[in-house]
């Protein structure tokens, strides 16, 4: 029974994260939220493996953990190449002018 409560708590936390991901306001907030939700999903899968009594689901949880990690790196790399975009990215969905910062497409 306890384990179901844990799953429920995880789901609720995911919802909180989702709200943060949608609200922003900065891209970093969203990345943070995505990362957080990734971790929670991993936990949820692990918990589910025990609820369903299917230990093979744990493989999935492991895969999720790895993939989530790679996703964060892709985002970092994206930031690196798009530093010009970061300033814009601070604005929320109303979308400010997109040429605020001088273009630095080539990275460093």
């Amino acid at each position: 029974m306890i384990i179901q409560v844990v799953a429920f708590a995880l789901i609720v936390t995911m919802m909180l994260g989702l709200v943060r991901a949608i609200k922003g306001p900065k891209v970093y907030d969203r990345v943070l939220a995505v990362n957080m939700m990734g971790t929670k999903t991993v936990l949820l899968l692990a918990v589910l493996a025990f609820i369903d009594d299917r230990p093979d689901y744990l493989d999935l949880a492991l895969a999720y953990a790895l993939i989530n990690f790679i996703g964060v790196f892709a985002v970092l790399e994206f930031f690196r190449t798009r530093e010009s975009q970061l300033v814009i990215a601070e604005t929320d969905d109303t979308g400010e002018a997109s040429d605020e910062a001088p273009g630095n497409e080539g990275g460093k």
């Binding site: 891209v27 093979d56 493989d59 993939i67 790679i70 080539g106």
Partner: protein
């Protein structure tokens, strides 16, 4: 209990989807689509589809996010124009009408999870009953995928293969594209900790990929998921150490050969069966007993799938990266 979890996840799915479409910041959309993939994968797991959940996570949250970011690195992340009002109205009407039709028809569909629905009565029980007999492997999904519907899976491999050569053909050879750009790409060198940790993890990811590949008959997984994982590891390497290094480790020639040989391995198994007197893809004739033949066949074709998928995904990543300097 699981039902309640499911309702929550479905709710989150709808919210995420709405946010994805309505957000005007493309980066946000891509991030949300990553979340969407995680959520829908969790939902798949709740619905007993372990293999699908693994695939969706690897593809949706992993590969697809990387690709979208790679493309976004090249373009404005703001959506600058609103749709024409007329078009939006027309779309809304189309969408509304279709929804009404679908919802209307749902009232006449079998209830969710009803074991007496025709879908659970006709073909599926035969599979569940016969996979242990015909090929003696625990994962029924792998059995159907590899043998009963092996021809579909062959098609799937060729879809991936087509995507690979398509992206290459449309974006051009990564090596040639890279030559036109200054060699400044060093990867994430100035992020010391992530780089170290990442490097440490790469062998584990590949190892795990191989486990998924060869353990696919016993647990969720198989060639495609393994391919995606291994490719993800290589992509991680490219992100950390830079494109050029990744291309030195696995050069384009090798990738070409991987793409082609995976597809050919799969087809070759089929043709071999044909030459040995069976029908195309009839693995039973491959070994002394039909069951052993089936097992060998599935193992081989899964390897073919894995090879092609790995090759194609890495190739696609390189092709995008060479353009966008990711």
């Amino acid at each position: 209990m699981v039902e309640i979890l499911n309702i929550f996840i479905m709710l989150m799915l709808v919210i995420t989807a709405l946010a994805m479409v309505s957000s005007r910041h493309l980066f946000v959309t891509v991030m949300l689509s990553g979340i969407f993939s995680l959520l829908i994968a969790a939902s798949f797991l709740l619905l007993d589809a372990a293999d699908v959940a693994l695939t969706e996570a690897a593809v949706g949250a992993g590969i697809s996010t990387v690709l979208f970011l790679g493309a976004l690195a090249l373009m404005d992340v703001e959506e600058t124009t609103r749709g024409v009002r007329r078009i939006r109205m027309v779309s809304l009407i189309v969408v509304a009408v279709t929804t009404i039709f679908i919802v209307h028809a749902t009232f006449y569909m079998p209830a969710f999870g009803d074991i007496n629905a025709p879908i659970h009565q006709h073909v599926a029980p035969w599979y569940i009953q016969h996979v242990p007999i015909h090929m003696d492997i625990p994962n029924i999904v792998t059995g159907i995928l590899g043998s009963y519907r092996g021809y579909d899976t062959l098609g799937e491999v060729f879809v991936v293969f087509t995507a690979g050569i398509g992206v290459l053909s449309i974006l051009g050879d990564p090596i040639k594209n890279r030559q036109h750009r200054p060699a400044h790409n060093r990867g994430l060198r100035h992020y010391l900790i992530p780089r170290l940790v990442g490097r440490m993890l790469i062998p584990f990811i590949i190892l795990f990929g191989l486990y998924v590949q060869f353990h696919g008959e016993y647990s969720p997984g198989g060639g495609f998921q393994a391919g995606a994982l291994v490719a993800a590891a290589i992509i991680l390497y490219a992100l950390l150490e830079g494109e050029d290094k990744a291309l030195q480790v696995i050069p384009m020639r090798v990738l070409y050969i991987m793409m082609a040989s995976g597809a050919l391995l799969y087809g070759g198994v089929g043709v071999a069966a044909l030459l040995m007197g069976g029908n195309f893809l009839d693995y039973s004739v491959l070994a002394s007993t039909p069951v052993a033949g089936q097992q060998w066949g599935i193992l081989l074709i899964e390897m073919g799938v894995g090879l092609t998928v790995t090759g194609v995904l890495i190739t696609i990543f390189h092709a995008f990266a060479a353009r966008s300097n990711l």
